[in-house]
């Protein structure tokens, strides 16, 4: 009797040890790459491969911003924030209508919104490029903003519809009886209540556009208009990679997304797989 108990305890111990080891392997896999980039961004890498003196330095960041990285950061902020605000405004009204009214074409809008989330943008690059080339929107931030607005709108509508269904319709009706217009209802009553939902949708939209690469690559060639993802790849020269600058630039590109992601994570998961887990 004693013996089986001690072998059981041993088996348990081995199993728990194995679980911990597996956890550690996952931890290294998940965190290792980010850790090395972070570490590398503070090391002196650019001189030569042997001369890594092991000291910490801010030199990578200093030379990164001296070489004009700042302009990419500003461009990214301008484009992504404008697109996010536009998309959220458009989505708010659309989501409101979808959740409150039945109208012709409602099914089409639903289908388009679900489809839009998975739309292969690689296919749209050619036609959009031609239209933009003919209308002078190549190398224009307005063009990129329009694309990103269109790119993030389906998902922001989707998130907001979910949020709006939790707000009782009796609220709007009471205001309508008091003589408020629908527009006032949305801006004065609905918006304050669904502010958290707006923030979540906006954060998501911002993150989406912040890391977008393909459209920016096709539409922007002027260095002064480039966004962070494009700008980062400037430092991969034809012959030699300026690793110090690339690492520092990567850290600058990732810190905002990490900070924004933190509060958003749970919401995103429940939104994405809601249909499957209900």
């Amino acid at each position: 009797m004693m013996k089986t108990r001690s072998t059981n305890a041993l088996a348990n111990g081995i199993e728990n040890g194995a679980l911990l080891v597996a956890f550690a392997v996952f931890a290294v896999f998940l965190l290792g790459p980010a850790f090395y980039v972070f570490k590398g961004s503070f090391e002196n890498l650019s001189v030569s491969l042997i001369s890594s003196d092991g000291g910490w330095t801010l030199q990578n960041y200093v030379s990164l911003f001296q070489s004009g990285y700042f302009i990419y950061v500003v461009n990214s902020l301008v484009v992504c924030i404008t697109a996010t605000v536009l998309a959220c405004t458009i989505s708010l009204f659309c989501a409101y209508c979808l959740s409150r009214f039945r109208f012709k074409g409602r099914g089409f809008v639903f289908a388009a919104i679900m489809g839009g989330q998975f739309f292969p943008w690689i296919i749209l690059v050619n036609p959009i490029f031609i239209v933009f080339a003919r209308t002078g929107l190549i190398n224009s931030q307005i063009g990129l903003i329009l694309c990103y607005t269109a790119f993030i709108t389906p998902f922001t509508i989707y998130l907001m519809v979910g949020y709006l269904t939790t707000i009782p319709k009796s609220l709007d009706e009471a205001a309508i009886v008091d003589g408020a217009s629908r527009f006032t209802v949305v801006t004065k009553i609905i918006l304050p209540i669904m502010w958290p939902g707006m923030v979540a949708a906006g954060t998501f939209g911002f993150l989406q556009s912040w890391s977008e690469y393909l459209l920016a690559l096709a539409l922007i060639t002027d260095n002064a208009k480039k966004t962070i993802p494009l700008g980062l790849y400037q430092y991969f020269g034809d012959v030699q990679v300026d690793w110090g600058a690339v690492m520092a630039g990567s850290v600058v590109a990732t810190v905002p997304t990490l900070l924004l992601f933190l509060p958003l994570q749970r919401k995103l998961v429940s939104g994405l797989t809601a249909g499957a887990t209900k």
């Binding site: 199993e15 728990n16 679980l19 911990l20 597996a22 956890f23 996952f26 998940l30 965190l31 790459p33 980010a34 090395y36 980039v37 890498l45 458009i90 989505s91 009204f93 099914g107 809008v109 388009a112 679900m114 998975f118 739309f119 292969p120 943008w121 690689i122 296919i123 690059v125 050619n126 959009i128 490029f129 031609i130 269109a150 790119f151 709108t153 269904t165 217009s181 629908r182 949305v186 690469y213 393909l214 690559l217 096709a218 962070i228 993802p229 980062l232 790849y233 690793w243 690492m247 590109a253 990732t254 997304t257 990490l258 933190l262 994570q265 998961v269 429940s270 994405l272 499957a276 887990t277």
Partner: protein
């Protein structure tokens, strides 16, 4: 002029929906149809002003019979999509099961694990590629220096330039960047399984594998299928990982449909031909999209709002 309340509501709905309709038409519907038109023409970037001539299905037959078609199709379907999606589903499932195990839960590691998952998840794909290119780098990269110092290899391996390692390298990057979503979603689904189901099964003599096979897995299956389908759709037409890791190289060894569309349009300047490849991709995607709608998509969103 005064409008009846019903008309007024109609007008309001119209104005509120107008911007969305403009976006859907201007950036989704019109470009898709225009792309279809382009695919039947010989338009190039050089004669953009003049436009192209109608050439029928020449672009399609040229692409489908071209010598590179087979390789591109295999790369896209097998390596980029099938392998990378399977690996991330399996890894995500393993990680979720691990975090849901009694022992790790009792160690209170779940919150830390969520934070750990956040790091690759929040990393923009561009930066994910950079991070791994650094790890894989033959002269500076930590992986090569470990392998050399541990005596496993004597010369550094250029992981992203070597034919034997380039696909596994690309897949590693995709998996690193996209597995967290799978892991977190599956963990959330695992946590909805009632505890007493497994206990009852254990009392009836089911071993752990049987519990997993006949309780956990069936419970997770809807989530696994929606995640698989979503991942397939996202990955099949993904451009950024392959392009930034290898530029479709060495040579055209890792060329996939998305990179072929880009290269044909913006390097060879053959917009029409590139559009035909895009339309071919869209047809495949439409099939998966229809599956998604059929099983999960439309019904779910409409159920929610009624």
């Amino acid at each position: 002029m005064t409008l009846s309340p019903k008309m007024r509501t109609r007008m309001t709905v119209f104005w509120m929906l107008l911007p969305t309709f403009l976006i859907l038409i201007g950036f989704y519907l019109f470009p898709t149809l225009y792309n279809l038109e382009l695919s039947f023409s010989d338009i190039t970037l050089l004669k953009l002003k003049k436009g192209g001539d109608f050439v029928g299905t020449t672009n399609y037959t040229e692409f489908l019979t071209s010598s590179s078609f087979r390789d591109i199709a295999i790369n896209t379907v097998f390596w980029l999509t099938a392998i990378s999606v399977s690996v991330r589903i399996v890894l995500g499932l393993l990680f979720a099961l691990l975090l849901n195990s009694k022992f790790l839960k009792s160690m209170r590691l779940t919150t830390i694990a969520r934070l750990m998952l956040l790091v690759p998840w929040a990393t923009p794909p561009v930066v994910a590629v950079i991070a791994w290119r650094w790890l894989f780098d033959p002269t500076y990269g930590p992986i090569n220096s470990w392998l050399i110092s541990s005596g496993l290899i004597s010369d550094p391996i250029a992981f992203t330039a070597n034919l034997a390692t380039v696909w596994p390298a690309i897949i590693t990057i995709i998996v690193w960047n996209t597995t967290p979503l799978i892991g977190v979603s599956l963990l959330a689904a695992l946590q909805t399984i009632p505890e007493d189901l497994n206990e009852a099964a254990a009392i009836d003599g089911a071993n752990r594998w049987q519990q997993f096979r006949f309780i956990t897995l069936p419970y997770l299956m809807p989530t696994i299928s929606v995640l698989t389908l979503m991942s397939v759709i996202w990955t099949f037409n993904n451009f950024v990982y392959v392009w930034l890791t290898t530029g479709a190289g060495p040579g055209t060894f890792t060329n996939v449909l998305a990179t072929e569309v880009y290269m044909k349009a913006f390097i060879d300047l053959r917009i029409g031909y590139s559009a035909a490849i895009g339309v071919s991709m869209a047809v495949v995607m439409a099939f998966f999209g229809a599956m998604y709608f059929r099983y999960f998509g439309l019904t779910e969103m409409q159920d929610k709002v009624g």
